[in-house]
């Protein structure tokens, strides 16, 4: 008798999603899907708005990575304006994006995933949260809280708000950096280094005991997409995209924001509101790929900063060619944080960062524009069309979670097939299937985080829809 298991909602994610697992008559997993159940409407309700409002509007898509939307949106607007922004403005935006990456990764690693890593996949689910982490490893809990504050405080200093700063505008930024703020950020750097070094050391030790999970957590060959500089160093804000295959060979290079929709398509599946991005020449689903920390590190030949470069060398030793298991997103995320701290220090050490020329001005010079950046979770592309008055007539956003969508589904199926046998499952197994999705750190929220509690109910139904078994987590 066939059965369906539903995990709804999946916990410790940004937003709401659910997982269904279909079993066959022998109780073996036949299929599994990760569903995103929220509806986004930003592309539609942006229509009719002036293009210069877009960064502020689009930032509201997300409460955790609004800076990436701000930057991709501003760049799309600058494409419409045909302007090149001042060097200092570009560097200030780069720093803002890296600060966001640090705080977002700290949230993902320390708050959402470290309970599994420190306490165990089978541990008491009521203790799997930041309090549990603090009780088990207080120094790691402090490091996580401090790194998140580090990123948030830089955002607040630059943009005058922790969330949805309005500082990034088409043409640059609204105001230059004051020397007092620069000095305040530089003063925070030593503690940030100490915290990320502690986390990296702890993670490498912990990961040794998760080899079974590493083997089945979305561990499969795929394409990888990410921004890269001309010197093949990792990039978050400018540069161009590179797509590599499972052997590390370059499939497509120099993908600018304008070329993005020439090579990347979006498919639709009936079980999810999130689209499925794919590389057009290979079609869907063969052209599906992964983005985010794992992809960035697989693509980059160098980080471009000394400490992160050393860590990248260690990371690359995890596999011959690209690192395939999505479990290693955790490791890559920590290296991203280290890189972010180093790069912020480097940017602030350049006296030109205090230059007061931080904004270029222009009107509508093109009727279409695109912008791209690396959000913490991966590549983000904004594409707009305007009329001659600069009013938006069409908009399309390709977000990182959509680009990882097929990989998340493959990963959920892989883990479910491995762990669920003869229709039997435990809360620990349920948690492992969820944890596969958590490695990608998908951001399902369309605006801000969901408020309140997120109860989880996993129900096993027979073919007649009758309940056979149930696990409830309140």
């Amino acid at each position: 008798m066939s059965q369906t298991i539903t995990i709804d909602p999946v916990t410790r994610l940004e937003g709401h999603g659910k997982i269904t697992i279909q079993l066959n008559d022998q109780g073996e997993v036949e299929n599994a899907n990760f569903h995103v159940t929220q509806v986004r409407g930003f592309e539609r309700f942006a229509q009719g708005r002036p293009y210069y409002e877009m960064p502020s509007l689009m930032a509201r898509i997300c409460g955790i990575c609004p800076v990436s939307h701000l930057i991709a949106s501003a760049k799309a607007c600058e494409s419409i304006m045909s302007v090149k922004i001042p060097h200092t403005a570009a560097q200030l935006r780069r720093m803002l994006n890296l600060a966001q990456t640090v705080q977002s990764h700290a949230l993902s690693f320390f708050y959402l995933s470290s309970p599994d890593l420190l306490l165990g996949m089978e541990s008491d689910p009521t203790a799997r949260h930041i309090f549990g982490v603090v009780a088990a490893k207080p120094e790691l809990g402090r490091a996580g809280v401090a790194l998140r504050r580090f990123g948030q405080h830089i955002i607040e200093l630059l943009g005058n708000k922790r969330i949805h700063p309005g500082w990034v505008v088409p043409g640059g930024v609204t105001e230059p950096l004051a020397s007092a703020k620069r000095d305040e950020i530089l003063a925070m750097i030593p503690e940030a280094y100490a915290n990320i070094k502690l986390a990296l050391t702890a993670y490498k030790h912990i990961a040794e005991s998760f080899q079974p999970e590493i083997e089945v957590f979305a561990n499969f060959p795929s394409l990888y997409l990410g921004l890269i500089n001309e010197d093949e160093s990792v990039e978050f804000t400018d540069g161009a995209l590179r797509l590599i295959d499972a052997k590390g060979e370059i499939v497509e290079d120099g993908i600018t924001a304008t070329r993005f929709n020439e090579v990347i398509g979006e498919a639709v599946e009936p079980y999810s509101y999130t689209k499925f991005a794919y590389y057009k020449p290979l079609g869907y689903p063969a052209g599906s790929y992964r983005v985010g920390p794992l992809a960035r590190l697989n693509i980059a030949k160098t980080m471009g900063t000394p400490l992160a470069d050393w860590e990248l060398g260690q990371f690359k030793q995890l596999a011959i060619g690209p690192v395939q298991s999505s479990f290693h997103y955790h490791h890559a995320r920590l290296i991203d944080i280290l890189y972010g701290i180093e790069k912020i220090e480097e940017i602030l050490s350049d006296p030109r960062i205090l230059d007061t020329h931080v904004r270029a001005t222009a009107g509508v010079n093109r009727l279409e524009g695109s912008g791209q950046a690396e959000a913490p979770r991966g590549t983000l592309n904004h594409h707009y069309k305007v009329d001659e008055n600069g009013l938006i007539t069409w908009a399309n956003l390709v977000i990182a979670t959509g680009q990882n969508n097929n990989a998340m589904n493959i990963g959920v199926l892989q883990a479910a097939k491995h762990y669920i046998k003869k229709g039997k499952f435990t809360e620990g197994i349920l948690n492992r299937v969820e944890a596969v999705v958590r490695t990608f750190d998908p951001c399902l929220s369309c605006s801000t985080h969901a408020l309140g509690q997120m109860p989880l109910v996993l129900t096993l139904l027979n073919a007649d829809g009758e309940q056979v078994d149930q696990v409830v987590r309140n």
Binding site: R128, H129, F131, V134, V145, A146, R149, E184, G452
Partner: protein, 161 residues
């Protein structure tokens, strides 16, 4: 950049786009203006109280939490003491309550303010709208008065035994 020690941290929570849920940030903005000449008082308004605030709380002499209450009589204004509490039974990753924040401050930094109060205003409606319901609007003078009294109380040194 040197800052004065914070003797009273005002920590408000709420969403100004959700009608009465925005009363906390509104009162925090009012307090910021009211006490702007006193560097020992700092006001922070956020949509959610997150774990990172535990460091600010640990470093403050006292803390006044402000929030709307959906389980209280609409328009009712209450001031209560807060003590450190256990971790919530349900997962709390993005949002913590005052008791949990105090507990986290204690666990992470070994310190909590010598006094902590919670000011709540009963919400009549938290629909998608800016502005407040009539009953909460009418309660604002009482809330402001209680807020001032609470700050005065928190700034009063505790007599030594």
């Amino acid at each position: 950049m040197t800052q004065s020690p914070i003797r009273c941290l005002i920590l408000a929570c709420g969403n100004t786009l959700r009608e009465d849920d925005g009363v906390g940030p509104w009162l925090a903005a009012w307090a910021e203006e009211r006490f702007r000449d006193n560097p020992a008082i700092r006001s922070i308004a956020l949509q959610q109280w997150t774990p990172e605030l535990s460091e600010d709380i640990a470093a403050a002499g006292s803390v006044l939490f402000i929030d709307c209450a959906i389980d209280a009589a609409p328009g009712s204004v209450r001031l209560t003491s807060v003590e450190p509490g256990d971790a919530p039974a349900a997962l709390a990753t993005h949002h913590l309550g005052p008791a949990q924040l105090l507990s986290l401050s204690q666990e992470l930094y070994g310190s909590i303010p010598r006094a902590s109060l919670l000011l709540t205003i009963g919400a009549a409606s938290i629909n998608l709208r800016e502005g407040f319901s009539d009953i909460v609007s009418a309660a604002l003078p009482e809330a402001r008065t209680l807020l001032e009294q609470a700050v005065a109380r928190l700034l009063t040194p505790t007599p030594k035994p």
